[in-house]
């Protein structure tokens, strides 16, 4: 699986949402992405890519697209 596929699958699984809706997805844009959903998202991303995100990155990861940029800082190319 490519990094993009892994990254996409984390979102579709954690939020139980279709892939087509991810493009414009943002924090609190759907019910499932609340603080609880955010915690699950972060822990899945950290486990999957074997990284530890900094506080600033955890709170800035507020859209599907933004997450890709943040992961670059951890040398994960998506």
């Amino acid at each position: 699986m490519t990094n993009l596929e892994k990254y996409t699958q984390i979102f579709t699984t954690v939020f139980e949402i279709e892939e087509s809706k991810l493009k414009d997805l943002e924090y609190q844009g759907i019910k499932a992405w609340d603080s609880v959903g955010h915690m699950s998202l972060i822990s899945e991303i950290e486990d999957c890519f074997d990284i530890m995100l900094d506080t600033d990155d955890i709170i800035e990861l507020s859209t599907f697209e933004k997450g890709k940029e943040i992961l670059k800082k951890y040398d994960i190319e998506i």
Binding site: E16, Y27, K31, A32, D34, S35, V36, G37, H38, M39, S40, I42, S43, D54, T55, D56, I58, I59, E60, S62
Partner: protein
């Protein structure tokens, strides 16, 4: 209680959009409310952490108007049901909510607007309210149960005074909101700080949002409160590495924090010259009943501490005899001026007087160590806490049985994880979605499992222990 000793020109609240309000303005808002709405009216206040919501609350209390505090995001059907049961004369709603409500109820009309909130008058006739009744709160807000707790003026004042005393609150405090205002613990933070003339930092943003932390740092928050789940989130946020020089105090209530997490936060607080208080409370006791003094936080981690000033605990065995020996588990009983008047389940109950007489049998099982510190060990009643919200298991069952008539169901579980057993395998997803939508709680907190038959006794009562055994046997 909010307009006596406070400095008139001090800020009572600052909102994250930059708006603020002084104690003097808060008082003026209360005065303009008094001409608009008769004393002893019943109001449903749809709360959020905003100045408008706060203004409503303090004005109602100041004018002897009785509000029921509800979450602004409460499911519409559940709200409609509560309105039908209690027939409030007025609703206090944010301007965003107003349009929806007026569309559904063209018979309501606007009487007053202030700070982006509006007072709507319904067509219901007033009914008698007990003279000392000050405030109504829900017991299990998320399931929309009409069971309410009735709090008196004395309850609110005595609990605020006790909290001020043991937390040593001064007018220099700047607590930031992390909990809803309609939630007893969130409200107790507001009450105790306004009482001392402090400045509340109001935000609807959560810990997982950048805006929250920007506001926190800009306005130099000095304290916050959190439920166990808040502290789990903080740990994941690498809170221990954050630089928050303005922060002095952290409090925890709303369920039992795991002893490990308690220890970690106590350790952090000690090393960084901050105070960490673990506390215990219930809506039935206005808000708080115990606190663990911050100096004991590390030494006694896992404990909920001692009774608040003016309160007293005891433990009783199954025969209701008092337990005097240490380390023996019994049901926790609390006595104090903050024990509320009782419950209401229908409109007529709002006229009832004090039914508890200052004594509350908590439904929690606890023990006391030889130094007199208390520890919660379990729960007698059928409810769990999910992310700090009390969710009654029987009420959830009833809600599901009404919505899904052709299937049987039973609910059990532990804090932060409800197990729902259903007899129709095809409904697993839809049940999960339904219960999450109705309660407003994230779906990951619900584990829906299929079972061919719900075990029951001859009287038709669900056998929950057998249910767990049956399911565990299937998994093994």
């Amino acid at each position: 209680m909010f307009f006596n000793k406070q400095d008139k020109n001090a800020f009572a609240a600052i909102q994250d959009n930059g708006e603020c309000i002084t104690y003097n303005q808060l008082k003026e808002a209360s005065q303009s409310m008094s001409g608009q709405i008769p004393k002893r009216s019943l109001v449903f206040s749809l709360c959020e952490n905003s100045i408008g919501s706060l203004v409503g609350y303090t004005s109602f209390l100041d004018n002897q108007i009785v509000p029921l505090l509800l979450d602004s995001g409460l499911d519409q059907e559940l709200l409609a049901h509560l309105i039908e049961v209690y027939q409030p004369g007025y609703l206090w709603v944010s301007d965003q909510k107003k349009a929806d409500l007026l569309k559904q109820h063209p018979e309501y009309h606007q009487t007053l607007e202030a700070y982006n909130y509006t007072l709507l008058k319904t067509t219901y006739e007033p009914s008698p309210l007990y003279e000392d009744l000050a405030l109504l709160l829900t017991t299990s807000g998320s399931t929309g149960s009409p069971k309410l707790v009735r709090q008196s003026y004395k309850n609110i004042q005595s609990n605020a005074e006790a909290i001020v005393e043991y937390l040593e609150i001064t007018d220099r405090e700047r607590p930031i909101t992390t909990l809803p205002m309609n939630y007893t613990y969130g409200l107790s933070i507001i009450n105790s700080h306004l009482y001392k003339g402090a400045t509340i930092l109001l935000s609807n943003k959560g810990l997982m949002q950048k805006e929250f932390w920007t506001f926190f740092k800009k306005e130099e928050a000095t304290s916050f409160g959190g439920v166990p789940y808040t502290y789990e989130m903080l740990k994941r946020l690498r809170f221990f590495r954050m630089d928050l020089p303005s922060l002095k105090t952290m409090t925890q209530a709303g369920g039992k924090l795991s002893p490990e997490l308690h220890k970690e936060f106590a350790q952090y607080a000690q090393e960084h010259q901050k105070r960490f208080y673990v506390m215990y409370g219930q809506t039935e006791a206005t808000a708080r009943m115990s606190y663990l003094p911050y100096k004991d936080s590390l030494r006694k981690y896992g404990s909920m501490g001692i009774a608040i000033p003016g309160g007293k605990f005891s433990l009783i065995d199954v025969d209701e005899k008092e337990i005097t020996e240490p380390e023996i588990t019994g049901e926790l009983v609390y006595q104090g001026p903050n024990v509320t008047l009782g419950y209401a389940e229908e409109r007529e109950d709002l006229a009832k007087g004090d039914e508890n007489n200052g004594i509350l049998t908590t439904g929690d099982m606890a023990k006391r160590d030889k130094d007199g510190y208390y520890y919660i060990v379990g729960r007698k009643k059928r409810f769990i806490k999910i992310f700090g919200n009390r969710v009654n298991l029987d009420e959830t069952e009833r809600m599901l049985k009404t919505a899904f008539e052709d299937m049987e169901c039973a609910c059990s579980g532990v804090d932060d994880k409800m197990k729902i057993y259903i007899t129709d395998e095809t409904k697993k997803e839809i049940v999960k979605k339904y219960v999450s939508e109705k309660t407003g709680i994230h779906f990951s907190a619900f584990d829906v499992k299929h079972i061919s038959e719900i075990p029951k006794n001859e009287a038709g009562k669900t056998l929950y222990i057998k249910l767990e055994e049956t399911v565990n046997a299937l998994i093994d």
